[in-house]
């Protein structure tokens, strides 16, 4: 089909689709006036039943826990596939470029920054069910700390900090925690992924029953998955620059 034909098809289809969606959205209750019983129930479940100050975390890790478990396995599938897709076509023996010798200022800021970013990441993960944040957001911040080591430090230091098999192991364990806990609660007689631990006192870290466990597992899985993807993407840079690109088919 010519590009012109495609644009005609696109304008017709997309135009119709967007117009109908806009009219449909006009039938929605006015912006700001939607009062769903589900939302009230979720807030009550978070604050009263689970003593979790962050109701979004309560929904993510408890009320709709299965969604988050499947989301972690989607992350696991994509991270594993991305890592091996990039790694399989790189010649393992390609020697890596030596240090890229950044300026002292960047090195100083970087090394100093890494510690702070790691603490920030751990804080965001740990307080996921008390204040905004959580396993996913904190996990990506921790992965950023690893990337910062690369930016500021030497490439060799970066590779020492991020051994791939260790990352894959950590990611798998972090993800395995979900079905393990689920089958555990199932075996103990209650429902799959039921929050069986005492809710503790709201606002403190010792609250919300099993939510902290799942939150920590998610943080571990996300941190190692994103670091793994980061390593593979940065490795692409170095394998490429160290040797000329082999002839393309």
């Amino acid at each position: 089909m010519t590009r012109a034909g495609r644009v005609v098809l696109l304008v017709l289809g997309l135009g119709g689709l967007l117009a109908l969606l806009a009219i449909a959205a006009a039938d929605l209750p006015a912006f700001g006036s939607v009062h769903s019983a589900y939302a009230a129930f979720a807030r009550h479940a978070a604050y009263a039943d689970r003593h979790a100050a962050n109701s979004v975390a309560a929904v993510v890790f408890d009320v709709r826990g299965l969604d988050t478990m499947i989301e972690e396995f989607i992350l696991f599938a994509a991270a594993t596939a991305t890592a091996l897709l990039l790694r399989s076509t790189r010649e393992e023996d390609a020697e890596r470029a030596e240090d890229h010798g950044e300026g002292d200022a960047l090195k100083l800021f970087g090394i100093g920054g890494v510690g702070a970013v790691v603490v920030l990441g751990l804080y965001v993960v740990a307080h996921g069910y008390v204040s905004p944040g959580g396993g996913f957001q904190g996990g990506v911040v921790l992965a950023t700390a690893a990337a910062l080591v690369f930016l500021a430090g030497t490439y060799r230091a970066f590779r020492r900090v991020t051994p791939q098999s260790l990352l894959e192991g950590a990611e798998s364990l972090g993800v395995l925690a979900w079905p393990a806990l689920g089958v555990g609660t199932l075996a103990s007689g209650s429902a799959f992924l039921a929050n069986v631990l005492p809710p503790g006192s709201i606002g403190s870290l010792a609250s919300a029953g099993t939510i902290p466990l799942l939150n920590a597992a998610t943080g571990l899985a996300v941190a190692s998955a994103f670091t793994l993807i980061g390593v593979e993407f940065l490795e692409e840079l170095f394998a490429e620059r160290a040797r000329g690109e082999e002839g393309r088919s």
Binding site: V7, L21, A25, F31, E71, L75, A78, T89
Partner: protein
């Protein structure tokens, strides 16, 4: 005016979808795919907002005040994670396509036809 957020969400989705169809570079197409997905986040969150509503987090917020819908935010969180992981995998595929075919232009990638 009360339909403006919904329309913006739909328009951003349409922009992303249109961008993919006419894209001349795989990285641009994948970024447009991400834009289309963010359009759905805007609509999803807009449906959950409540007038004078504050974040659905206890502590530091006056007890009686209205809070917005946490369920919709949980759904959007899951979406964002799925979105970035798919984008990562597609970008890795795009790098492989470039290594194999020397081009990143979807119009030139015609291995299978007919």
């Amino acid at each position: 005016m009360s339909v403006y957020p919904y329309v913006i969400g739909i328009v951003v989705f349409g922009l992303g979808l249109g961008g993919i169809a006419v894209s001349r570079h795989l990285v641009h197409a994948i970024v447009c795919l991400n834009v289309a997905q963010t359009g759905t986040y805007v609509l999803l969150l807009a449906v959950g907002w409540r007038r004078h509503g504050t974040a659905p987090i206890l502590g530091g917020v006056p007890k009686g005040s209205h809070q917005v819908d946490p369920v919709v935010q949980a759904l959007t969180l899951t979406d964002i994670v799925v979105g970035i992981t798919v984008s990562g995998l597609l970008l890795a595929l795009a790098i492989q396509v470039h290594r194999r075919r020397g081009t990143m232009d979807p119009d030139e990638l015609r291995a299978l036809r007919g």
